[in-house]
């Protein structure tokens, strides 16, 4: 009896796992999801698990061989690699190629595709992981959203703050200082609105609005020394397209200015150069040496009629962190009028070589612009050009650098045209992007296809963010807020 039971069990096991047999050779590359063919990856990244795009494929059998040795095997519905073995293989093949052999079973027949390569970069990824917000690509209403952190060496995601803990509030714009998890800022909008600032191990909650400022603190960016944080203040409006092909929403500001917040004195530093009445200044960022404040600015238009005539230039003004004073002259680095395009989300690399930005036809809120592409400005030669290898026909936007400025991430809607996903890429010696790869997931096909959230405002984090969500939730629900003062 036991013999029969054992045989039945073995038959069941064999029936459940299929291995390649009578394999037909194909000289085509496999169509895999996500597209990891010929991508460049850092040592330490989570396994690039993938599935065959064809839904009729029932089993995939994958062998990965390193040019410097080592071998990995995965068999199943997805290529789901052992995390420990994957990291060993990458370490062994740093600076070399991995060769991926894919066999797929469809209708009981096995096909072996042409091998593809994955290049393991010499450039290290020093960051532990990422922070990002997950939010549905909504119109006006929102339900669950949260700010999360993700370990880049595996698939573990943990919440930092989710708005179920503070019902009906919106949390946004989590921004660390040059990937440092000990210093960050984010906003809470709603009944318990606040700007939450963590600095020197302490969390402070600022009043969401300063009446004299005329609005809220919005897009933040830290001064490298950590005392100052630049913000914009925006009066943002939305319009909805009735029948524009592949466009749903227009987001624009009827007014915007920029200022710098002094975290020591709880004061706001303003300058008439950065709050001109006829101009909309926006998205301020400090240079990595802290001596310059980059921002975008556009002549205000007649809204909403001329919304598509609003084009932002990239400018900068000097900033003295000792005195907290701005320079007296604004330099225009990229002129929207001559380019005929609009610049948004400038992000200088932390090594001072480049400035990554998004280029769109008009406006600044690029996530709803399918023409939105990543461009780079070489700050030594002042040459600017598109990061062709990183761009797609769909929206690329919201990018951030690693501390060593060798890698960057960005969000893109290339996957389905609506839901933004995170991609990582590196910059080579010529200043060109390598082919980006989608943020790995254990079962990426199922995960991304069922996920009804977009990734928003992602950034790298050097270490895990040490956050007491319980205390933070209580602080946010309390009435205690620090008022900000205005220094002219």
């Amino acid at each position: 009896m036991n013999k029969y039971l054992l045989s039945a069990f073995l038959l069941l096991v064999l029936a459940c796992s299929s291995t390649p047999h009578d394999v037909q050779e194909s000289n085509r590359l496999p169509k895999i999801y996500p597209d990891y063919i010929d991508v460049t990856i850092p040592v330490g990244i989570a396994p690039l698990n993938f599935a065959i795009a064809d839904p009729q494929v029932t089993t995939v059998d994958v062998v990965v061989r390193g040019a410097h040795g080592g071998k990995l095997h995965a068999n199943g519905k997805d290529a789901d690699f052992n995390i420990k073995e994957w990291h060993q293989l990458l370490t062994q093949n740093k600076g070399a190629d991995l060769y991926v052999e894919v066999c797929a079973e469809r209708d009981g027949r096995w096909t072996r595709y042409r091998d593809f390569r994955i290049h393991v970069s010499n450039q290290p990824l020093d960051e532990w992981g990422l922070t990002y917000r997950l939010i549905p690509p909504s119109y006006a209403m929102y339900s669950k959203m949260g700010i999360y952190q993700r370990d880049l060496s595996n698939f573990e995601e943990t919440p930092l703050i989710v708005n179920t803990a503070i019902p009906n509030q919106c949390v946004n714009c989590h921004t660390p200082n040059q990937t440092n998890p000990d210093q960050y800022v984010f906003h809470v909008r709603g009944e318990h609105g606040a700007t939450v600032i963590r600095r020197n191990g302490k969390i402070e909650l600022l009043k969401a609005k300063n009446e004299l400022l005329g609005g809220s603190m919005v897009y933040p960016y830290w001064h490298p020394k950590g005392r100052f944080c630049a913000f914009s203040t925006n009066k943002t409006l939305q319009m909805f397209h009735a029948a524009a092909k592949s466009k749903r929403i227009e987001v624009y500001d009827s007014e915007s200015d920029i200022f710098v917040y002094d975290t020591q004195r709880h004061s706001i530093l303003r300058d008439t150069l950065l709050m001109r009445k006829e101009w909309a200044e926006n998205t301020p960022v400090f240079s990595p040496d802290g001596k310059w404040l980059y921002f975008i600015t556009a002549r205000r238009q007649n809204y909403p009629a001329d919304y598509n005539k609003e084009r932002y230039s990239l400018c900068r003004v000097a900033f003295d962190s000792m005195s907290g004073r701005f320079g007296t002259q604004v330099d225009t680095l990229i002129n929207a009028r001559t380019m005929g395009k609009s610049v948004t989300w400038p992000r200088p690399s932390y090594d001072g070589r480049y400035l990554l930005y998004t280029q769109i036809d008009y406006g600044y809120f690029s996530v709803w612009h399918p023409e939105s592409d990543l461009w780079i400005l070489n700050l030594k030669t002042m040459q600017t050009y598109p990061l062709t290898a990183a761009n797609s026909k769909r929206t690329e936007s919201l990018h951030a650098w690693t501390k060593n400025s060798k890698w960057f991430l960005f969000t893109s809607r290339r996957d389905d045209g609506l839901y933004t996903r995170i991609y990582l890429s590196s910059i080579d010696r010529q200043g060109r992007a390598t082919k980006p790869f989608m943020l790995p997931q254990r079962h990426p096909k199922e995960y991304y296809r069922l996920l009804l959230y977009s990734y928003n405002t992602p950034d790298f984090t050097l270490r895990p963010v040490d956050s007491d969500a319980f205390k933070l939730q209580h602080d946010i629900e309390s009435e205690h807020r620090i008022s900000t003062q205005i220094n002219q």
Partner: protein
Amino acid sequence: MHIKEKHLQLLPTLQNALLAVAVFCYWMWIAPHLLFYRESMQLFLWTEDYLSERLAVPGGFAQYLGECIVQLFLNPAIGAGCYALMAVMTKIISARLLSSVITDKVRWSWLTLLPPLVLWYITTVPTIPMTVPVALLLTITLMAILPDNPRSSMWLTIVLVPTGYWLLGPAIVLLPLYHLRFLHRAQRFHIVTVVLGTLLLLAGSVVASSRVVAYPLRMLVQGIDYHWAPELMGDEEEMIYDMLSRRHRWATIANRYNTHPSDNPAILAVAKFALYHEGMIERQELLQGLAPSFRSQNSIPAMQMISEVYLRVGFITMSQRNAFEAMEGIPNCNKSARSLYRLVETNLITGQYEVALKYINILEHTLMYRSWANKMRRLVEHPQRIRNHVFYHELQLVYNATPDAFF
């Protein structure tokens, strides 16, 4: 005497049958709009992630079962049947519980009708989700299986209170209280101490859970999915019109509106479309009737029915927005299979096939929308076939000919 006793024995069965018929008829013919209303606010997926997401919070198992039942409400007969079954089960379990405290079961048998009536009432309150009746039903089931021995019952209660809280939510509070049934046969002080002790254990479980889940303590005390904020729930009239528009009962809508006119922008929009559909008004009057609804996102049923009408008049992106907003407005942060159904349609019409395919992928993990999603997959994967689909093809032509404007 013998015959009378026999009749008395039949009494519970008769009561059960009457209760089942009454509950079924109520939901089938008097309040089916509440069934459709609840069904609009769930996206029950047969996936491990969906189950583990529910089990990760207190009361999540009750919510999971509740949503599993609510997905069936797309068919009102099944929905009414589910409620009837729940009412009868509640009555049967109540009878068992009553028998442990009362000896004259026949005389007091009417008492067993009270719990199902309470349950019935609860299910008619739109702001109380299905989690609550399921949690109550499962809690009284646990009460019924507690041993009749005070000591064994105490130990089992101590185990069941924290686990029951995690699975069912605060409804588990009935379990410690049920220990009071031993008051008449054991030392009172001992029984009261056990009850207070287990209540303290429950309070401790609630406080401890506030450290591990992203919900405020007040919601954990009240139950995470035990109450929905009423702001976007809409009123009964909106729910009725929403149900009728969802079922394309245009003649009924026209008659109802002609008998009881309403100035609610969403109802006006649906009514005008129904009148237009029935040939009672011209298109110009229909468009005038729709105008007040352009900026009306007052409630979830209103947004859903406006979405239905906008789709039919060719305002595809406005239909899409209302479906999306209705989904995002769901008070417990659920998603909506009904909204995704509409979003598949709007994205198909506007040519955003990959987005449509994403929603189809999701709906293929549901029970009630799976076969429809399969059919839509064939259209989306082969867009040339849309030409053969009269409804979607015509709307595609309308959409492509529509000049862009802002709303």
